[in-house]
């Protein structure tokens, strides 16, 4: 039975009791508790169930490596699953539920999996996927779905606030234990900018729990002094509750600060994501204790020796009244001493080493505690809690030599340095035979922009596991980091601690060494995912020799702790099974984040309206006020149509088309790209950019142009106007403005840098309004100011002047086949012009029209649209645009590419029009089928529909399509299947792409 002890608990404040609830039960804890420590203090050892077998579980650790004690935390819009009880600070009103159980933590139906364990071996999923389809669908999937999954997914939108923060530091120290603080103190004396971050809410790491003396002070006092000193230093920033999630190229570091997890609703952002650029990073990230693999090592009450000590010393929560300690190294003896001092009974220390001689062991023996040498646990008794252990010889197969009754077991399999941050960006590891651990290889660090290593490890993270060693290493690390950044460290000496006399560890990966299959099937490696020694050995037998493959086959290390607790145990077991050394097996890849971070912190402020900036045309507000149905086009919103009254969108589009063709329509074309190209070599340059000749365009005229990539494919189109002898204005598609401007700059800067040309993207400097329809001229004449007669401004010309007192440039160009003017005015006066046009147009039946009417009208005319008729594989020749490709020019972008045989192949799919026989509208994206089927049994295809609309002008469905040898097949009928069982295919006739006013009479009046 676990309980709270008087006189213990350095981190809790007994003057501040807190009420919280667990599985609907109200409980009491103290300020400073974690949820796990408070539950243990309340006698609640069992805190969750495992993922696969739903086995009862208690916390095995006291920190970030905890795999078992996961809870659903909070409610409603502040609900979050899979939160580690061990790193969840208690606060007043906290609400938590345990996971992976139904109907209750105590009684779980899913535990039936436990009995089925032998049917759920390693690779179960992989093997099941190979099973007949029916078995998967009817047997496995329903059974797995019933019991699988960790916590519940939140249903409500997150009510909290999150933010990003950008920061630059010369030296960032990750870890606020004694090694990190020593490193920070050394680096700080150089005057460089230093950030120190600690993932826990308190400084000092393990030292205050583990004891010893630093510069003749107890660690707690020393830590207090150093933190005070660092707080006073102007060049040092200290942050607690901040975890270094990942190290990336060139010193980029992500910090995850849990600002207000422990003070909900206090108005601060809940999490803050720090995007840090660090000159040097010191990782003083400590080490994590490893469990031992013995049968029943997952029973609630079995935990890491260090965790049992932490719960006692930090939070006054004693796990167990009568404890057995099992170890292969000296460190666990500290737990025996602490529990003994706290008045708990330590029944025995089982040490796998045949002879035990260390100083700590001597102190334990002097305290009257039995130390059994060469001994191991054969088996833990108990299901929901420990009732005792069977003791055996480590060297044997598991025959019990003694039974010991106990209610808790402290285990230690040695320590693994936290090497994650070192490894994220390519730092390499070495296997340290003497200490049985992987540690960073200082000669192979991750390298930065200067080619030098930019991560330095400090303390236990380097493999310096003693207090004295960690302090010396931390000091060196801080000095090295500052020196590399050009700092001069004035502090000469590292803090001092007494050297410890320690006996070396005995590597123990399976306990006992000769255990048989029955015991191995109860030895847990990955606790959360229920991966046992037997699973890893099975994977090895089935040929999984790579550690990365074994990981995925068994799910070892794929739980939310990502193998922090016992990946080393797993790969050691794999190495044994494969008969090779541990370094030959190697580790799996360490990937960020170090511990899970909230999705919301990644999003930061980029949610809701701030998710993406919205580009608004100068006339946006009018559209909004007049009921525009919006269509996103790049970052713009453009009116799709303006429905009136009870109109459907389709009805509104038809009305807008009919009105424009009969009277006059207004189109906000401001989003069109407008790039000015100017200079003595501008004509020559544009002749390279466009497939046709632009240098010969007379001033005052407009010409439609095509742009291809160097690979020959059509990338953009638009009308070019020559403004002056040395100046052209290039219109691009709405989505293409920035891209095409960048494309021009690329060629100008990187290929023809000696050509005298300037470009400027003036897209947002001008509002542009299309006045379109037979009455367009009458409306503009009503505004007054310019002669826009056919004689003064013929088709494909432009003129400058004033309209309604607004300076304007008027282009006579048409994308609809109607008499059409596009009027560009300074952006700030676009709305004024629009309003005047609406007023003046009233007498002529003016209506605004949106992008869909624009599309319908251009399709009726057979005009192509970039992105509809093109998809990055289409060349102008496919679209019948040979007339816009110069044959005279020696060179232009894409010319050489278009000479390749495949580009000139007559077998290409080419653009034609389609007229459905029954007048219906072909679905978007439909294919034109050919005879026969392909090797997958699918119908062969001979073309695809690129644009398809209902044409109100013609009263029928029209389409354009790319069809195999299309233009040679006029009049032929083709078949277009429609999705949906039993639906008859649509039949259509191949016709020319222009459906309306073929001679172009309407636009040239």
């Amino acid at each position: 039975m676990s309980a709270r002890l008087e006189g213990w608990g350095r981190l809790i404040d007994r003057s501040e009791p807190l009420t919280y609830s667990f599985n609907g039960r109200d409980l009491r804890g103290y300020r400073g508790d974690t949820l796990a420590s408070a539950l243990l203090a309340a006698g609640q050892v069992m805190q969750g169930r495992s993922f696969k077998y739903h086995r009862p579980r208690g916390p095995v650790a006291a920190g970030a490596e905890e795999p078992n004690a996961l809870v659903n935390l909070g409610q409603g819009a502040r609900f979050e699953p899979d939160q580690r009880a061990t790193t969840t600070e208690l606060f007043e009103g906290l609400v938590a539920e345990s996971q992976n159980h139904w109907p209750s933590l105590d009684f779980d139906v899913g535990v039936v999996n436990n009995a089925l364990a032998r049917f759920l071996p390693a690779g179960f999923y992989n093997k099941t996927f190979m099973a007949p389809r029916g078995a998967w669908k009817h047997v496995f999937e329903p059974a797995i779905r019933q019991s699988a999954g960790l916590g519940r997914a939140p249903k409500a939108a997150d009510a909290d606030r999150y933010e990003h923060l950008y920061a630059h530091y010369d030296v960032v120290v990750v870890g606020g234990g004694v090694a990190g603080l020593t490193a920070a103190r050394a680096a700080a004396t150089s005057g460089l900018r230093v950030l120190v971050m600690e993932q826990a809410p308190h400084w000092g790491g393990r030292a205050p729990v583990d004891g010893g003396e630093i510069d003749r002070l107890d660690p707690e006092g020393w830590v207090r002094n150093v933190v005070e000193e660092l707080e006073k230093a102007k060049n040092v920033t200290l942050r607690r509750r901040m975890m270094a999630a990942g190290v990336y190229d060139h010193g980029y570091l992500i910090g995850y600060e849990r600002v207000a997890d422990h003070t909900p609703l206090d108005g601060r952002p809940r999490h803050r994501l720090w995007r840090i650029r660090a000159g040097r990073i010191v990782t003083a990230t400590g080490a994590i204790e490893r469990p031992l693999a013995f049968a029943g090592n997952d029973v609630p009450g079995v935990m890491l020796a260090s965790a049992m000590r932490d719960y006692l010393v930090n939070w006054g929560a004693a796990v167990g009244r009568r404890v057995v300690v099992v170890t292969n190294n000296d460190d666990a003896y500290r737990t025996a001493l602490a529990m003994h001092e706290a008045g708990r009974e330590v029944a025995a220390v089982l040490d796998a080493r045949p002879l035990v001689t260390g100083a700590l062991a001597t102190r334990v023996r002097e305290a009257g505690i039995r130390v059994l040498e060469g001994r191991a646990i054969a088996k833990v008794h108990g299901r929901k809690g420990v009732t005792g252990v069977a003791v055996t010889a480590q060297a044997g197969a598991g025959g019990a030599v003694e039974e010991i009754g106990c209610d808790a077991v402290a285990m230690s399999g040695g320590w693994s340095p936290v090497v994650h941050l070192w490894s994220h960006c390519g730092g390499k590891l070495v296997w340290d035979e003497a200490q049985a651990l992987f540690r960073p290889d200082p000669s192979r660090p991750p390298t930065g922009a200067d080619g030098e290593g930019f991560v330095v490890t400090a303390g236990a993270a380097s493999g310096a596991l003693t207090l004295a060693g960690a302090l010396a290493d931390g000091h060196d690390a801080g000095k090295a980091a500052a020196k590399a950044m050009g700092g001069k460290v004035t502090r000469k000496a590292a803090p001092k601690a007494e050297p410890e006399e320690a006996q070396p560890i005995l590597p123990v990966w399976i306990m006992p060494a000769e255990a048989g299959p029955e015991l191995k099937a109860k030895m847990w490696l990955d606790f959360q995912n229920d991966v046992k020694v037997s699973d890893v050995e099975l994977a090895a037998r089935e040929g999984y020799e790579s550690v990365e493959h074994t990981k995925r086959y068994t799910t070892l290390g794929m739980a939310t702790d990502q193998g922090k607790l016992s990946n080393i145990n797993g790969l050691a077991v794999l190495s044994q099974a494969l008969g090779q050394d541990i370094p030959a097996t190697g580790t799996t890849t360490f990937r960020p984040p170090y511990t899970p971070i909230s999705m919301a912190s990644i999003a930061g402020e980029a949610r809701g309206e701030l998710f993406q900036p919205l580009r608004r045309s100068p006339i946006h507000d009018w559209h909004e006020a007049n009921g525009a149905h919006w269509e996103p086009v790049g970052h713009w919103r453009r009116p799709y149509t303006y429905p009136r009254g009870a109109e459907t969108l389709a009805e509104a589009v038809n009305r807008e088309v009919n009105n424009t063709r009969a009277n006059v329509g207004l189109l906000d074309a401001s989003t069109l790209g407008k790039i000015v190209v100017k200079g003595p070599d501008a004509g020559r340059f544009l002749d390279m950019m466009y497939t046709n000749v632009m240098s010969s365009l007379p001033v005052g005229k407009c010409r439609y142009g095509l742009m291809c990539s160097e690979n020959g494919f059509l990338i953009d189109d638009g009308v070019v106007a020559r403004l002056a002898e040395d100046t052209w204005l290039c219109h691009t598609t709405t989505g293409g403005a920035d891209r095409i401007h960048g494309h021009m700059e690329d060629w100008l800067q990187c290929e023809w840098w000696d050509w005298k040309v300037y470009t400027a993207n003036l897209t947002e400097q001008f509002a542009q309004i299309g006045v379109v329809g037979p009455k367009a001229r009458a409306v503009l004449e009503a505004l007054g100011g310019m002669d826009l007669s056919k004689e003064a401004l013929p088709f494909m010309h432009w003129a400058e002047g004033e309209l309604a007192g607004i300076p304007a440039r008027v282009f006579r160009i048409s994308f609809s086949g109607e008499l059409s003017y596009e009027i560009a005015v300074p952006a700030g006066r676009g709305r004024e012009l629009w309003d005047r046009l609406v007023e003046a147009g009233e007498a002529h039946g003016v209506m605004p029209y949106g992008t869909e009417a624009l599309h319908v009208m251009r399709a009726e005319k057979g005009f192509i649209m970039i992105g509809d008729e093109t998809d990055g594989t289409v060349i102008p020749q496919d679209l019948g645009l040979n007339w816009a490709i110069s044959k005279k020019k020696e060179d232009f972008l894409g010319k050489r590419a278009q000479e390749r045989p495949h580009m000139a192949d007559p077998e290409r799919w080419k653009l034609i029009g389609l007229e459905t026989l029954d007048g219906s509208v072909i679905p978007d994206g439909a294919y034109i089928v050919a005879d026969g089927v392909n090797e997958n049994g699918q119908r062969n295809t001979q073309g695809r529909v690129t644009s398809t609309y209902f044409s109100p002008t013609l009263g029928r469905g029209i389409a354009m399509a790319l069809l195999h040898r299309g233009p040679e097949r006029m009049g032929e009928e083709v078949e277009i299947p429609v999705l949906g069982a039993g639906k008859a295919p649509i039949r259509a006739r191949v016709v020319e792409t222009c459906f309306f006013d073929k001679p172009g009479a309407k636009q040239d009046v």
């Binding site: 990336y248 390298t447 922009a449 200067d450 080619g451 290929e751 010319k895 050489r896 590419a897």
Partner: protein, 106 residues
């Protein structure tokens, strides 16, 4: 996430400010080029384990294209230089050679 110094505006730009443009110093092949020459220009790209000359644009900054010599293994940036050149500057090539011989000697 790389940092590269823009040789035009002198800013140490974060990768988020930059747009990559692939291999530098390609010789353009236009009409008249053989199929092999055109294929090499259009598609064949160096993929070295080591020094790579590459194009970057300070897209969210001054808008200029520049070139960088970067080691694809160590991520060391030997230098950046303006794009208006057909070959890397001599001083940069000497620096690269020296860095590599230093490393080889280590």
């Amino acid at each position: 996430m790389l940092t590269l110094e823009c040789p035009y505006c002198g800013i140490k730009a974060d990768e988020t400010e930059l747009a990559p443009g692939g291999e530098a110093h390609l010789k353009r092949q236009g009409p008249g080029a053989s199929d092999e020459e055109f294929e090499g220009y259009m598609f064949a790209r160096a993929n070295p384990k080591g020094v790579h000359f590459e194009r970057w644009r300070h897209a969210m900054g001054c808008g200029k294209w520049f070139l960088a010599a970067r080691d694809t293994v160590t991520l060391e940036v030997y230098g950046t230089y303006p794009a208006q050149t057909a070959a890397p500057p001599k001083a940069l090539m000497e620096k690269i050679e020296k860095r590599q011989s230093d490393r080889g000697g280590k």
